[in-house]
Amino acid sequence: MKNGSIIGSSVPRKEGREKVTGQARYVDDMVLPDMLYGATVRSRIPRGKVKKISFGPGIDWNEFVVVSPKDIPGKNCIALIEDDQPCLADGMVNHPEEPLLLLAHADRHLLPKAVEAVSVEYDSLPAIFSMGESEGCSEIIWGTDNTFKSYLIEKGDVDTVWEYADYIVEGEYTTGAQEQLYIENNGMIAVYDPQQGLIVWGSLQCPYYVHKALMKLCGLPADRVRVVQMETGGAFGGKEEYPSMIAAHAALLAMKSGKPVKIIYDRMEDLAATTKRHPSRTRHRTAVSKDGKILGGEIEFTLDGGAYETLSPVVLSRGAIHSGGAYYWPSVRIRAKAVATNAPPHGAFRGFGAPQSLFALERHMDRIAQSVGLSPVEIRRRNFLKPGQTTTTGQTVREEIDLSKLLDRALELSGYYTKKKKMAEENKQGGHKRGMGIAAFLHGAGFTGSGERYLGSVVGVEACADGRVRILVSSTEFGQGTKTVLCQIVAETLGLRYEDVGIAQPDTQEVPNSGPTVASRTVMVVGKLVQSAAMGIRQTLTVRGMLGDSYSPEEFRAACRAHVTQHGKLRTLARYEQPADIAWDEQKYRGSAYAAFAWAVYVADVTVDLTTYNVSVDDFVALQEVGKVLHPVLAEGQIIGGVAQAIGFALHEKVIWEKGRMQNGQMANYIMPTSADLPPIRVYFEELGNVHGAYGSKGIGELPMDGPAPAILNAIEDALGVAFDSIPLLPEEIFAALAEKTAPENVVRSECEDR
């Protein structure tokens, strides 16, 4: 292939053949000689002191390896932002399912019984389970005020707008926990050798997060901890931070036993113990002029972080910054807070706070439209951000985005007006009500604010002895197409064939730290770095006279081979440097929050069945501007998959909590969409480009998680004339609301009769 033909074409997925033939190796597919299996003894109560642990009868405990907190060589914590989360609770438990002890045995069938036979006596302490209780500080369970982090974002003088507002519109919106539900459960294998150190293989997103956590836990230097990512069966943020915990557990058992130890969670353990999307509550109070212009507003955004801080401050930050959405706010005050409850810590999940705050905003825009007497289309059009205007953090929109045009195209693609007219007729009769809903939004790509500068990611590209080029990054593949797209970028940069470029397995002993695979940053940030490193290879070959100014792929391969023979290995590194036009004030929370934004307008078309109160999404249009699309099939796959997860977030996926513990921890009763539940999801792209991303790319992975839930709830309100402001929205809630609306006295009477 020649220049210009690889970027933008749907080349075969690098690891695709292994995946469709069943040859791809996931952690549970790996077996080491003499390997033990590990299991975790967990807290059964939400909060209390551990009085006594006893090992019950009927088990030959001599056969088991048992690890308790006193076996931890370094610090008893899972190092992340703060070190507040213990690896094994030592004397005090703060949430159900908190790890207490570890067991290992060669026969995995013996483990469940052994776990069951460990009994723990507690002195229970009062626990708190809601954001309200946490804010009320009836119990202090974390720090001095149960608050992990708070932010204040201010723009203009919002206090002066209320007096001349024609309308003041208020609303409160909530979202529930959501499970990532990767189909491959979490798992790790660890091996320890006193001379060589520790090696772990696992299902994970961020090799260097695990590396950092293991160094601190085990008291080992960097070169004696090695983390290798196996093929990973889905992650969605759910394998960002918790894998460090499982790796730590496997490592402790391996260190104590001197044998390889494998820990694989089953689905119930994975659902009950690992992270979920943060539940949220957003309150809006907005001043609006009579022509529908937002004058200013106050936004209060609160997240339930669970029992330990983990990633909550960062999730909160992204949620808060996105809470003003794709609109121009002359003035705004955003107060954001993440609070502690006695539930397992909530964590990263695709969208990372933005789906929560954008759900609130996009529902609120429909409420504003009703107050002012404008259509949902018109209220958005009048308030869209325009190039040259500033976001809530004061970031100037430099991209030539025309959201009004994007909206028009989405309406046209969805047949909005034609359908609306038809629905108005159909809704006059029958047992079904239909409606249309819109969401317009943005999603910032890459780490927030100075995040990328702090990360200082490094990537490598090397020329191999066989003439091929190999990419060295810790960025991981877990379905999105990381391997494929990074190889496309290098092939395009060097004028090589796609087949001439390979990528190393993420292994901290082999690859530099290109940062975590999160925040829609891989193609935009890591891709750009990989491009510079690749150019370094070409430059070296040229300077050394081994390659002419123009060359064929064969000549390039020959030059690589010659270099390795004559001079040895050729490897170039590239390190992230913050572009000059990106400045962020961490103290005031002002400036360029993101290097680029992706923009989108989504339109949902729903039917509510008035017999079952079931909502079906009949058609879904997802139109977005994501910079240059590097691989159409993968990009479309990201959008469809994200929309599907977001439909689950809106309508199906409800975590039922009882004293901080998930009660429906099985796939049989935590319901995600099946192939029979989803509408046709129609994906369209606009491609404006982006100076900061490789070949004009922006982030794409998280964007589709943001818009569907509000678009669907807006459509339900359009169908029923009843507003719902909380998700997941299940049929029973729709039934209850409609029953109340149509005949409140009947409902009361029937309840009385029941008694």
Partner: protein
């Protein structure tokens, strides 16, 4: 501890897996999923939920699509089992495998073996399925990555190319 499978005597069970007749010594109540993965080292069959909800462990047993996590190995005695490893022959991808690659039907890959076997089963009964039949035929196999649309497209594409059973 009399309930645990390892406490019971092992027995010999013969079954045909991907065309090869084999005899294994296993506990009669072990899950076929575990026997395939551990005794036959056929790790292409995946565990997702262990309760027959997700379909990741789908295989064909005597031509019927089953969740191997719900089948005690005793039940597979004398059966003809096909796993994902039995689909490609001589390194040549089966039409569905190629179509999954071309259309983006596989992302993280963990549901892919079961999904392809479910699709294979569907096409063996209905070589030219409608979209509704595809939706229905694959509804026992959960995928969290793709939102299914590109999987439907892969099945349609394989059907067009004439996937033979």
């Amino acid at each position: 501890m009399s309930e645990s499978p390892q406490d019971r005597a092992k027995c010999e069970i013969s079954l045909t897996v991907n065309g090869q007749l084999a005899t294994v010594r296993v506990h009669a109540m072990e899950r076929l999923l575990d026997v395939l993965r551990h005794e036959f080292a056929l790790t292409g069959t995946k565990e997702g939920c262990g309760e027959g909800e997700c379909g990741s462990c789908s295989i064909l047993m005597d031509g019927i699509l089953v969740n191997s996590c719900l089948i005690p190995v005793l039940q597979a005695s004398g059966a003809n089992v096909v796993t994902i490893e039995g689909l490609a022959s001589d390194g040549q991808l089966q039409a569905l495998q190629q179509a999954f690659l071309d259309c983006g039907g596989a992302q993280c890959g963990i549901c892919t073996p079961g999904m392809i076997l479910a699709a294979f089963h569907l096409l063996s009964k209905k070589p030219q399925p409608t979209v509704e039949e595809i939706r229905e035929g694959l509804s026992g196999n959960l995928c969290r990555c793709t939102g299914y649309m590109q999987i439907f497209e892969a099945v349609r594409e394989a059907s067009r190319r004439g996937a033979k059973t």
